[in-house]
Amino acid sequence: MPARPSRFPAWFIAFACAALLLAACQSQGGESGSPGASASAGGTESAAASVNEPNELTVLEWSGYEDPAYWTDFQTASPDTAVDFEFGISDADILSLMEGGSEADIFHFYTGWQQFYVDEGLVQEIDTSKLTNWDKVPDSFKKLGQVDGKQYFLPWDWGFTSILYNTDHVDGEIESWDALFDDTYAGHLSMWDDGPAAVTVSSYIHGWDETAITDAQLAQAEAEWKAQKPLNLHYWTGEYTDFCPEVQSGDIWVAYAWQGCYADTLYKESQPVAYANPTEGRNSWVGLYGISSQTESYQLALKFLDDKLAATSCGNAVTNFYYGCVNQEVMDAVTDPVLIQAFGIDDPSILATTNFTPPVTQAQRDAWTAMWARVKAE
């Protein structure tokens, strides 16, 4: 054995034993790692099967969503069910974890990545006839969870992307996405650090078909974003770590933004801000839940997702994160004037002109992320 420090022999050994015991006894959700767990065949199962399902669920979630507030209805309805969480911190992580054999029954990711899960057989169809809250979800959101006409995913949270701007520093209203390229705001612009987002913005400005970007169009976008680069204060990555604080201190005047910071700034009244309704239309993204094709608890998973759509669980996302909830009744019941303004609840024309992010293919993702890497490396 390599010589261990004998500096604090008793102390170290005691703590080491305590630490190992703690870790071993209390570690939850560790994978059992046994291969060949009987996989349920893709597709729905009869209600009788639910009697034989293990009364536990594992959910692969974004860190932060495991809080009981966001599944409280399920917790109340099924208090005996053990719900364990695994975590990812990005869409790429979550896909990797599922591909790598995560035993999660349910997983959560954001628009753009649907095709990958379907292509690799990681997900099974959702039997919407079993969902009691399904009719509260508008069709436009339901469609976002469909691939090849099949309802593979359940939408849950959503939000806008548009241009957030400081009205003290911007004359008039911002009417187009090309404000992000306007050198009037040099040094006070901020674009989100994401290649596909950049391509999306370019496609709005030039009226391109987002699902069929040609090489020439991509090259043009690359050149434009390279020219835009010095106008940014920086590319932001974390909404409340390096973006919103700078909006609220008046350092960022015009930016690609989700509605969360808009709502937060309205609440704090730190800067006069507005959220654009560009002529090209806002963008919207949706959070989707999928049920693993390998799950043994299909009925339970359905119940979990159904309960997540319920008013309290879904509504907590609205009040806590300033995200939207697909349950239309929840959105209609919002009374907070700041949230009404942030979501444009009073103005249905906004949602009508909003462009929802379509699924992206492997080839597109590779090309667009490589384009952005070249822009950043320049």
């Binding site: 054995m1 390599p2 010589a3 911190i89 990005s90 869409d91 790429a92 992580d93 896909l95 990797s96 591909e99 690799e120 040094g187 650090d193 994401d194 290649g195 680069k229 010095p230 940014n232 204060l233 920086h234 590319y235 990555t237 770590t241 390096d242 604080p245 700078e246 201190s249 008046g250 350092d251 492997q362 993702r365 590779d366 992320t369 490589a370 952005w372 890497a373 070249r374 950043k376 490396a377 320049e378």
Partner: protein
């Protein structure tokens, strides 16, 4: 009773095994991934091995330029951190003496809180309403508060030097402990003044520590990405950011792996060249 030579087995074998299993083998896995033709799910079937991704990296001058810039920045940061850490290490070795451990703990402990939060706190201090602007405007040096003083390549270099100094002091401090009072007294008796003693005895004896420090700072800094993403803005990006993006945003592990392997090779070449220039055995004697 275990002899001296026999103990060698217990000393050398466990680290070898540990590193073999948890480092060498995974590295092999990564190298294998970098040779995948495409970017999708890991599948070593058709088309493997392929140099596609290596070609892509080598064909993009911007990536290689970033690698060169990152190496240059890392060199400057490592050199500055080593030099600036020296007085701290000296203080710990010769001034603090018995209480050195406490002083050392005080140096390292801020790092046991979140780096992200500390950088956010610094951005507040350097921001429009922060302490620096407040001082400058109170002194009348500037009329209006300047904008955010971060987001540049210089900010990355300064921040990394600042962050590395406490750790850089450790190997130097460790090495300085071999300087005995008797050495210096003997030199003093022979007429050497304080600076001569410092230059002829202290520095040479602490050289292994300084070299260890330089390597310890230089090598990981080439692939650094956290600090550039927090304070680099659009101009302070480093090669590590590109690797990170390909892994965590694009989900393109093969390309990310290829970029990382190229960086590894670049650093390896530099280390080998440096070792030729510096004869380690002479230094350690």
């Amino acid at each position: 009773m275990l002899g001296r030579r026999g103990s060698l087995w217990f000393l050398a074998v466990p680290p070898y095994l540990w590193l073999l299993l948890l480092f060498v083998v995974p590295l092999g896995v990564v190298a294998a991934i970098s040779l995948l033709p495409g970017s999708g799910r890991i599948n070593f079937g058709a088309g493997w091995p392929s140099l596609n991704h290596y070609r892509e990296v080598l064909d993009t001058p911007a990536y290689l330029r970033r690698l060169g810039i990152s190496v240059g920045m890392a060199f400057v940061i490592a050199a500055a951190a080593t030099v600036l850490a020296y007085p701290i290490a000296y203080f710990l070795a010769f001034r603090a003496r018995q209480r050195a451990t406490v002083f050392l703990i005080l140096l390292l402990v801020p790092f046991a809180s979140s780096y992200l939060l500390r950088v956010m706190a610094w951005k507040l201090l350097l921001g429009r309403e922060g302490a620096v602007n407040w001082v400058l405007t109170s002194l009348g040096l500037i009329q209006e508060p300047a904008g955010l003083l971060v987001y540049s390549q210089a900010a990355v270099v300064i921040t990394l030097i600042y962050v590395w100094i406490p750790f850089a002091a450790l190997p130097i401090y460790a090495a300085l402990q071999r300087v005995h009072p008797s050495h210096l007294e003997a030199a003093a008796d022979l007429g050497a003044g304080p600076w001569t003693r410092f230059g002829r005895i202290t520095i040479p004896m602490s050289l292994p520590g300084a070299l260890a420090t330089f390597s310890m700072v230089f090598i990981p800094t080439v692939g650094e990405y956290v600090t550039p993403s927090l304070v680099g803005g659009t101009g302070g990006l480093m090669y590590g950011n590109l690797i990170q993006d390909f892994f965590t945003r694009a989900g393109n592990w093969p390309l990310g792996s290829a970029m990382a392997v190229l960086m590894l090779l670049a650093v390896l070449v530099l280390v080998v060249v440096a070792l030729r220039l510096v004869d380690l055995r002479r230094v350690a004697a």
